[in-house]
């Protein structure tokens, strides 16, 4: 399953790369891409993953790396 999230105030490309690496290290994430260009985050996880739970972890991780950046959860 793949989901895309919008990012607000992601204003440093290096931070995007760091966020991406941090999210990739989560055990339930198969692949993650944080695109500085499109200001979007794509997360791939196995089918049946509880995305709400996963996103809580992702938000926490991203807050650590780049506190100014906000993830739009729909």
């Amino acid at each position: 399953m793949k989901k895309v999230f919008k990012l607000i105030d992601l204003d440093c490309a290096n931070c995007a790369a760091k966020m991406e690496n941090a999210i990739k290290d989560l055990p339930e994430v198969e692949d993650a891409v944080v695109s500085f260009m499109t200001q979007k985050m794509t997360i791939k996880a196995p089918d049946g993953t509880d995305f709400d739970e996963l996103m809580k972890k992702v938000v926490k991780l991203c807050k650590k790396v780049e506190p100014d950046c906000e993830i739009v959860l729909k």
Partner: protein, 619 residues
């Protein structure tokens, strides 16, 4: 400029003025008063950097650029270089502002290239037009598209005539005329008349949604160069910080020299330790190249395909629909004893009741209405052709089997294509050669590819060998394999894959019908998108929206140009940084130069990356 950027600008200006005042005040060198005078502008410009540095250390982000700047400037204050510390912080912020403005602008520019998203759809409710969200419109609903509006959903025109600008999707600048019964594609702009359109696809299945999805996801397929930079960045920063530490400790310990001087040199290292220039400019270049290509009707699904396409060595084409138009047309008329027009007229009359594609090609070549009163009988003989009575003549039109049956002796012809023989009262009158026409641009497409260093151009087709050879000669291809089944095509491509050199790549170009397995087997699969063919858009890595094979050369130029910019940026950014590191270690470079090597290089690299958006085709 955003609010955040304006805020920073005000801080930069006020800190700049206060810095000048502090420098002009007649205060004693290295006095506390002088420190205080400089701390005011330093605080104004640098408080957020210091705050972020502390906050990020708490979060375990040690080698963060804020931290490095904080250490570098606080270090400079500690060695009593007050003006330098303040100025470095000031220049760092100016550079960051520049960078964020430049990146923001580039991002918007590229995004606007790809902005084909419709904002609303007009629907009629109780006789009044109401604006609705395209995502809420259902299949079969009627929408109204006014002149100047973007067509929000794919559909069929039920009322009105207009010209439609398809350039956002195809790069084709000549508008297309649409009438009742024609299909229209979302993302195009309606130019002249009001159109009523019956929606055939819901928003998420419409062309515009598919293209947007494709282009936006292209950022997730990273090129090798991008992955290299990400890996490099991981090691670069810690390596520079460790060498800074060694530089501060070892020389003074070994030589017993001046601690302040070596610490100062080490601080210069810290300023240059952010790989920002590369981390921003490399993906930006790829993004720009992909954006620029999409403006020209070439959709590229990822930066990695730009890299592979730039090294194209063998290009394999499917014939029908790729190099040829995929529609039958009268190629040649060979009369026997009568004139050409007369032969065509006889054929057109004989075939006038037929619905066969060959009959259509003859009647469209004839171009006039047929007077049915002249036809007194018409009989279709399945698998053979047609026997008709026209103006009291018995006319037969069909293949050689029909002529045999009628006892008519035919004149053989070496032309490639389908033959329609015609006889008049048992007398042979000649034949018409029907062939799938080669696209006008196909020949020059091959020539352009060869000029770009493609070593082999190969054609694969299910057609007969005579048709294949004729097309091969006409187009100037190197090889043609004919009478292939779809499975044979995969086998041939695999054979060719073994022939190429390890660095080169094999490109397959097809129309997306029947060749999905080959498209995915090749290093890069290019599909003729024929506006909205789902199979093509999904199976290929690159989609040519207007089916023009000449665009492949342009796509190669964009690929090569983008890569050139990427390598320029990598070499420039790394080169400047290493030189400044070296000069810093030797004590020749000061902190100002280091700030330039950090943010100045970033800004230049970003500006260079923007050129990728505007790469033009070489002749």
């Amino acid at each position: 400029m955003s609010k955040k950027q304006k805020n920073i600008l005000i801080r930069i200006i006020s800190a700049g003025i206060l810095l000048i005042i502090a420098a002009l005040l007649p205060l004693e060198e290295k006095s506390l008063l002088r420190l205080a005078a400089f701390l005011v502008p330093y605080g104004i410009i640098g408080w957020d950097v210091l705050w972020k540095a502390i906050r990020n250390i708490k979060n375990g982000q040690v080698f963060d650029e804020n931290f490095l700047m904080a250490v570098a400037t606080v270090g400079a204050l500690a060695v009593k270089e007050y003006p330098e510390a303040t100025a470095v912080m000031l220049f760092y912020q100016i550079g960051e502002l520049f960078q964020s403005v430049a990146v923001g602008k580039s991002r918007k520019n590229i995004a606007s290239l790809m902005d084909i998203r419709p904002d609303h759809a007009n629907i009629e409710v109780d006789g009044k037009l109401v604006e609705a969200d395209p995502e809420e419109i259902e299949q079969g609903q009627l929408i109204v598209v006014k002149p100047g509006e973007r067509i929000p959903l794919d559909g069929i025109v039920t009322d009105g005539t207009s010209s439609v600008d398809t350039s956002a999707l195809t790069g084709e600048s000549v508008p297309r005329t649409v009438r009742v019964g024609d299909s229209v594609i979302s993302g195009c702009i309606n130019q002249s008349g009001v159109l009523k359109v019956e929606v055939t696809k819901e928003y998420e299945d419409s062309t515009v949604a598919k293209i947007l999805d494709l282009v936006e996801n292209s950022a997730s397929k990273k090129a090798k160069a991008e992955n290299f930079i990400t890996k490099f960045a991981k090691y670069y920063t810690p390596a520079v910080v460790i060498s800074a530490l060694l530089l501060a400790l070892i020389p003074p310990l070994v030589t017993g020299g001046n601690w302040a001087m070596w610490i100062h040199r080490a601080l210069i290292f810290l300023v240059i330790s952010c790989p920002c220039a590369l981390v921003i400019s490399v993906p930006l270049s790829f993004f720009g190249g992909i954006g620029g290509a999409s403006k020209k009707g070439i959709l590229i699904k990822g930066g990695n395909f730009l890299e592979v396409l730039a090294n194209a060595e063998i290009i394999v084409f499917d014939k029908t629909g790729t190099l040829t138009k995929g529609v039958f047309e009268v190629d040649e008329i060979h009369p026997h004893g009568i004139d050409e027009d007369k032969l065509l007229e006889l054929a057109a009359y004989a075939e006038s009741y037929s619905d066969h594609p060959i009959a259509h090609s003859i009647s469209s070549k004839y171009g006039r209405e047929t007077d049915r009163n002249r036809i007194s009988s018409n009989e279709e003989i399945s698998g053979h052709g047609i026997k008709a009575v026209i103006d009291d003549h018995e006319i037969c039109a069909g293949n050689s089997k029909l002529m045999d049956k009628m006892g008519v002796e035919i004149v053989h012809c070496d032309k490639a294509g389908t033959m329609v023989h015609i006889s008049d009262n048992g007398q042979y009158s000649g034949h018409i050669v029907i062939a799938d026409k080669v696209k006008e641009s196909a020949q020059s497409a091959i020539k352009r590819l060869k000029a770009r260093g493609v070593k082999q151009t190969v054609m694969l087709t299910g057609d007969s060998s005579s048709a294949a050879d004729a097309a091969m000669k006409e187009l100037g291809l190197d090889k043609a394999y004919s009478e292939l089944l779809p499975a044979d095509k995969v086998e041939k491509v695999e054979q060719l894959l073994e022939e190429k050199s390890p660095k080169g790549s094999l490109v397959f170009v097809g129309d997306g019908i029947n060749d999905a397995p080959v498209l995915s087997r090749a290093d890069v699969g290019i599909a003729m998108g024929s506006l909205g063919s789902d199979a093509a858009i999904e199976a290929a890595d690159i989609v040519l929206m207007d089916d023009d094979p000449e665009k492949i050369a342009l796509a190669m130029d964009i690929s090569k140009g983008t890569l050139k910019i990427v390598y320029q940026n990598i070499i420039f950014a790394l080169g400047v940084k290493f030189i400044v590191l070296l000069l810093g270690a030797l004590g020749i470079a000061n902190m100002w130069l280091a700030v330039f090597a950090d943010v100045g290089v970033s800004v230049i690299a970003i500006l260079n990356a923007m050129r990728a958006m505007r790469i033009k085709e070489k002749n």
